[in-house]
Symmetry: C2
Subunit: 271 residues, 2 copies
Amino acid sequence: LQDARNRLAACRPTAVNLQWALDRVVGAAEELRGRASISVIHQAIWEEARGIHEQDRAICRAIGVAGAELLDEGSAVLTHCNAGALATSEHGTALGVIYSAVASGKRIHVFVDETRPLLQGARLSAWELSRSGVPVTLICDSMAAQVMRERRVQAVIVGADRIAANGDTANKIGTYSVACLARMHAIPFYVAAPSSTFDLTLSDGDQIPIETRDAREISEGFGRRTAPDGISIYNPAFDVTPAELISALITEFGVIRPVNTHTIREMVALK
Amino acid sequence: LQDARNRLAACRPTAVNLQWALDRVVGAAEELRGRASISVIHQAIWEEARGIHEQDRAICRAIGVAGAELLDEGSAVLTHCNAGALATSEHGTALGVIYSAVASGKRIHVFVDETRPLLQGARLSAWELSRSGVPVTLICDSMAAQVMRERRVQAVIVGADRIAANGDTANKIGTYSVACLARMHAIPFYVAAPSSTFDLTLSDGDQIPIETRDAREISEGFGRRTAPDGISIYNPAFDVTPAELISALITEFGVIRPVNTHTIREMVALK
């Protein structure tokens, strides 16, 4: 079980709530070590996992309710990567906020960054949003600035892989770019994430490990070679957005604003 | 000839020096209208075109010499799209500055944005730079901010499709994004372009027509469908970077800094 835990944990070094969920599952088994049969332990693991899933569904619903009021009727929102039903439980975190706003009767248009190199925006977010009847416009990552300049979006909302104690947030590569652009255009930039994404052992985002991935995701990501041989390729899979660029954090406990060590510790104390 | 001219001009509405070159070629023919045989006119067109090519080679060399001193020994430069030998005459404009700096003995490392949707950075700039022995690191467009944050680049240099009288510059989509990010990170942002790229009939960049292109460049750009059906796709091929984000313009007449209507008119007066 520890081998399986380590293997799963190593495949996503940046995200922290995978570790959190693995610790919970392994913990459920550890508690029964030497006191129960394999089949009873197996059942406990299964129940813990189901419990995490049910809890995450409720958390995502609460994030959606907390964030929905930040989105105005008739507005357009930009999102990056996928923080929806395909990445979390039930309706997601960032996309959950959008789904909740829509469910409350607001008309919301979503601009989706395609999110190179793996195109989670084009392949996942655009798909699940349009399947839910939310109007979607897909753009390349490099077009977000232009869309902001044309005043086509009124807010940005993204998920998170790990949030340090001061609010610095690791998320899919390109998120930091969007946060910079939102600041340049005076557009609010929101991060929606469950409290399990907070890593209060890290004082700031500089300590978050950033996974770099295979160069071929960039040079031949679509089954066709699109870059010459013999060059260097840099492929960080995540980046860190400093807290000062984040207008608010949206959690299952409500909206944290402004974003800093003090307000985050207050939220945790409430927990 | 007019039909051919109009057809060629219509295929690139944003770029202005295509119009300029077409006007020169058609002008050479017009001058001989009714006064010379078809074969003489054909020869005049050919000579005018060769003349433009030779002149453009000299202009690109002059741009390179003017800009090379802006790049520091041992520094790294970010570029977007292709403004090199494959897009202009001889060694290019933005890449020409890099080639000239390298020829003068400086070691320069180049970070190249892949430049979605058509990947001119990955397919053209990375190829020609590495073929010329310049060390290249390819990144996705969404990684430029992270590369700047890590202090891996000390300058940005790009080409231009059209420059208004006040210095607002239309260039490949994503250029404006890079200019915003350079400003956020206090990195100089340079535009290298021949004087034929200036359109002094336009007081500012709002008047530059922006070509939007086929949605399939984004949804199936690599020969494989990467976005769901039934969504909207926005595909502007260019954007406009306001003059206040441009540290300097590099032309065949030298470096224009600061960038404004006055300094640009002064350069034109010298011409």
